[in-house]
Amino acid sequence: MAVDLSPIDESLLATIANIHGMPKGAFNIRRDGQLVERHNSAYVEISTKTDNPGIDIKVKPGTKGESVFIPVIVTQSGLKDVVYNTFYIGDDCDIDIIAGCGIHNDSHAASEHDGIHSFHIGNNCRIKYIEKHYGEGEGTGERILNPTTNVFMGENSFCEMEMVQLKGVSSTVRDTNAKIGAGSKLVLTERLLTHDDQTAESNVVIELEGEDSSVQVVSRSVAQDNSVQIFNPLVIGKAACRGHVQCDAIIMGNARVKSIPGIEADSPDAILMHEAAIGKIAGEQITKLMTLGLTEEEAEQEILDDFLS
């Protein structure tokens, strides 16, 4: 397959989607607002949207064991790429979706990617979604990622979403919205590391609409240097449902973290909980790892790596 991918492109794709060369199965690789390569499978059909930039991904009912890759890379400075990716997942599917965006910006102008992902998940599905965001480059140009994720879950489905922002993203505003049907469960894990003068804001609104629906929101973040993070997760229980929100942050240097987990019960049968913690790395943790032969710096890195793992 003759696709023109530079070493920078390949390295970004490996970082965000762990793919080397062209992946197997259905995929759509987008670079600088343009389609690089697309592949459909017998069960997954990807088509270009006619109204907005972006793609529709249709997964046939009963699709099992397939992976769908839709990574985006931005290597052009000064580009603002807005893309709408909409998934229509039929009943009884069991699939993995790997998305993510990598920006390489060596210049002074900002590069921005705003991905609007929507997931219409049918009944009795098992979905795993992994999204990694990453920025790199020597330039002073900002690397901006503003993803919006909308999830609509049918009945008795399970969806695990792992959203990770590794490093190098100057500014991000993440909006995640979900409506969860009867008997369905969503596990939303967000992991974030900011450094230097970066800012990150994450707004999450989960509506538990069906009986016996549930959600677990887990946010783990590390704020270093002068970076600022704000978390606003909100879980609304509209039926006999269960919701748990957990925000944990490690703060370092002169960073600031604001965490406002919210729960709202619109039904007397909703059981909702939230917890939030912000703190430095404990001295006793460093000491313990030093007694196992790590240096202070290695111990700190180990603690951060595990916390964000």
Partner: protein, 258 residues
């Protein structure tokens, strides 16, 4: 061999105060290779401080610490760990996101096969293979995290292992296993030395040498046969306090108008 020479550790009486209090008072002690030493004594006698001084968690005010003839007084914790000293904490730290297997691997300094990890864990009474993927976080009970701490020491296998009250927080069933583990490390006779800080009679009985530490000084040393009678452990059960009558509460006597 570990040698402590004229070790002194002083702390300010109050924060910012120039007046100091001596926690370890001109202490000299030698721990030969291949020995099992128990340091015991009353609370506040300086036992844990002494263990921390050996590991480098605290720095002495004066005096010298030598390991195999090398002066390690100025060594950092990391350097002492690399020189062969290990430390089992009384209240081990917890780590969010760190799996038990990872901690064992950091301790061992290498990737470990599942089987080895399970062997270390089963020696401390954690027999389910599920333990390897559990996180060493606040979801573990105090006893569980303590047992994992001891398993990390087994994985590290230091030349000189210091355990600060390993029995604290451990249930009786696991305690039996723990004493067996200490006995087998000792019986292996491969040059490893163990220092245990303990009040437990059964651990004290395992020792080659007992050091009784009071007010920062060694008040006596010797074998269990020599020292045990002086510790007064046998009298512990005979004495004790008598229960008083529980206070009777009369609801009618409690004013309800306030």
């Amino acid at each position: 061999m570990l040698e402590l020479k004229n070790l002194v550790f002083e702390v300010p009486v109050k924060e910012g105060s120039k007046e100091t209090k001596r926690i370890i008072d001109d202490l000299t002690l030698a721990i030969p290779d291949d020995t099992f030493t128990v340091i015991t004594g009353p609370n506040g006698g300086g036992k844990s401080t002494l263990a921390k001084l050996i590991m480098g968690i605290e720095s002495p005010t004066s005096g010298q610490i030598l390991l195999d003839g090398e002066d390690i007084t100025e060594y950092s914790i990391t350097e002492r760990a690399k020189a062969g000293i290990g430390y089992g904490f009384q209240q081990p730290a917890r780590f969010k996101g760190m799996k038990v297997k990872k901690l064992l691997e950091i301790a061992a300094g290498e990737k470990l096969p599942m089987l080895s990890c399970n062997q270390y864990l089963s020696k401390v009474g954690l027999c389910s293979a599920d333990w390897l993927t559990r996180e060493v976080d606040k979801n573990l009970s105090g006893g569980e995290v303590k047992r994992i701490e001891i398993a990390t020491m087994l994985a590290r296998d230091p030349k000189l292992a210091i355990y600060d009250e390993p029995e604290a927080g451990i249930d009786l069933w696991s305690f039996d296993r723990l004493t067996e583990t200490f006995r087998s490390i000792h019986d292996a006779g491969n040059g490893r030395s163990i220092i245990i800080i303990s009040h437990q009679e059964r651990i004290i009985r395992l020792a080659d040498n007992i050091v009784l530490l009071e007010n920062g000084k060694i008040s006596t040393t010797g074998t269990p046969e020599e020292i045990m009678p002086k510790l007064g452990l046998v009298r512990k059960m005979a004495t004790g306090c008598t229960l008083t009558e529980p206070t009777r509460l009369h609801i009618t006597e409690i004013p309800t108008t306030c």
